[in-house]
């Protein structure tokens, strides 16, 4: 029985039943069954490649070539050691943590400052600045990449971690400002005024009153920024080509461009797993919040 043949009949069946009956009708049960089957197949398609990657990361290259399904004779933990040391994944991991960590702190700080002023103050050019910020969300990064290369070069920041950090901050700003702007506008004015009456200056009001109140908004933007920056590829690959400064995406991509018979495939799969683990952890912890943010607004 397929979903389509069964569906048109269903409502008439349902209609003949008394309302608010606890038990589902046969039609409802059948459609639920079909739905479960389809969704389970999709879940397998999603999970299988990742489980297979995990399995392969414990195999030798020879075992990987022999059969895609067989379990490893001896789990090759050495693949992870090789990935961490030989493939430079360890170095890249630390670089990524530094770059994404510092960039996150900076962009959340600068972004909340900027959006607070834009949302709460009246001054000349305010609207123009807001739209200038939005324009950064409109154009592809590819448009900027060549001149950006020379901007960084002129500052002596090309192929350096600080250069990458400031670029990450600049490109994450529009998104951050766009969403925190909306958030700051919803915060009540009374508290800020009460703080002012109590003699707090603008600086104190922001750091002691407004920033703590904006914490939920900041948290959800921070999750998206973390994912966006951790997964960033084009910027580092163009602007950060010194091997010792590579971030994870670059170190992993190196496998793709050199893939051949000499590649240690066990090491490749181990590298992939090492790269996924941090986002998996973030996903497991913040899964609810992530999906809630997607549903609440049309987040990018």
């Amino acid at each position: 029985m397929t979903a389509t043949t069964d569906l048109p009949l269903e409502p008439t069946v349902a209609r003949s039943q008394p309302e608010r009956k606890v038990k589902d009708t046969p039609g409802e049960r059948a459609s639920a069954g079909v739905a479960h089957v389809v969704l389970i197949i999709w879940s397998i398609i999603v999970i299988a490649p990742m489980l297979w990657t995990l399995l392969s990361s414990f195999k030798t290259s020879r075992e990987i070539f022999a059969s895609p399904f067989k379990l490893p004779a001896v789990p090759q933990f050495v693949n992870y050691v090789n990935a961490w040391q030989q493939a430079g994944i360890g170095r890249a991991f630390i670089n990524t943590v530094i770059v994404v960590g510092v960039a996150m702190v900076l962009v959340m700080m600068l972004g909340s400052m900027c959006s607070y002023v834009l949302a709460r103050f009246q001054f000349f050019g305010r609207r123009a600045i807001y739209y200038l910020m939005l324009s950064g969300l409109t154009f592809p990064v590819f448009l900027a990449i060549v001149p950006l290369f020379y901007v960084l070069k002129n500052f002596g920041l090309l192929n350096t971690l600080p250069g990458l950090i400031i670029t990450y901050v600049a490109f994450a700003l529009p998104f951050t400002v766009f969403f925190l702007y909306a958030f700051f506008r919803t915060l009540p004015y009374e508290l800020a005024e009460a703080a002012a009456i109590d003699g707090a200056g603008e600086w104190k009001t922001f750091f002691l009153v407004m920033l703590p109140m904006a914490r939920p908004g900041i948290a959800s933007v921070a999750i998206f920024n973390f994912l966006g920056l951790w997964n960033q590829f084009l910027l580092p690959v163009a602007l950060n080509t010194t091997r010792s400064n590579w971030v994870l995406a670059q170190a992993v991509a190196a496998f793709a461009s050199q893939a051949g018979y000499r590649t240690d495939f066990g090491m490749l799969f181990a590298s992939v797993i090492i790269t996924i683990v941090p986002v998996l952890v973030v996903y497991v912890i913040f899964q609810r919040q992530l999906q809630a943010s997607v549903t609440a607004g049309s987040l990018k």
Partner: protein, 330 residues
Amino acid sequence: MSTSAQATRATAPGTTPRRRRRRWTFDKISFMAVFLGVPLIIYVVFVISPFIQSVYYSLTDWGGFSTTMNFVGLANFKALLTDDLFLTALRNNIILLIVLPVFTIVVALIFASLVTVAGSNRGSVRGLHNSSFYRVVSFFPYVIPGVVIGLIWAQVYDPSSGLLNGVLTKIGLDQFQSYPWIGDERTALAASIFAMAWGGIGFYMVLFIAAIRGIEPELFEAMRIDGAGRWKTAMHLTMPMIRDNIQTAYIYLGIAALDGFVFMQALNPTGGPNNSTLVMGQVLFRTAFEHGKYGLATAMGVALSIVTLAFSALVFLVNRLLGAERDVAR
């Protein structure tokens, strides 16, 4: 909470609360200078100025290493129109632009409908029971780095040791024993598109589930009482009610399809068999950072931006022409 505060909050971004005006104290000026100035300087230097410079460079013959830079007008754009490699990439991007959003949205819509509409049809708890598992699982690929998705699928598609051919041979389809999915011109682009869609379907499924749940249950009830089946309900109630969400999804996916750089670079760094998976980003990257033709490369960037903006505008226009304004009332 006073009504005036509520009124100011409800206004458009153009207007600001009138309360904080006047009193330009040192405290306030220093505060605004630092809070607005620092982020703005970084943003203008590293984002806005490269965008603008790019438009200028695209009109020059800048080679990067040479100090001379001649203004050549639209010569770079003319050169692009006869550049076979770029046109191949443009063609591939356009195929991606048509196939990726449609495929992803259709599949995501089907899954979202299954979750929300299948199963119990009445009462307050509508939709499939225990469906959060599917949402959590399907959404996960969205957070995996694109380069990793590409690399995993490149291995899955591997002719001799890949998972896909392993499964196909296992179920008796021996002709796939060593079929190179991304090494054969006939399937390379389609297989790459599937890998990209794999990463996105869960995200759009969550988006659509939320949109469908946002429709008032009374409307479904009314459809049901009128005797409409699930299919009719989906086509005549659900789809029109979530058309703005579909539009948003279409634009995001279209922009992703016009990029595609990271996926294609991980799946087939050389552009695939006979350049069948080459995208504009890859050509731009090579032209700039391997051949040093910066003028030409920035022209490609401008062309890519124009196509992207034109696409977004087109989606808005089509949605409007198809009668989006009729639904504004809700």
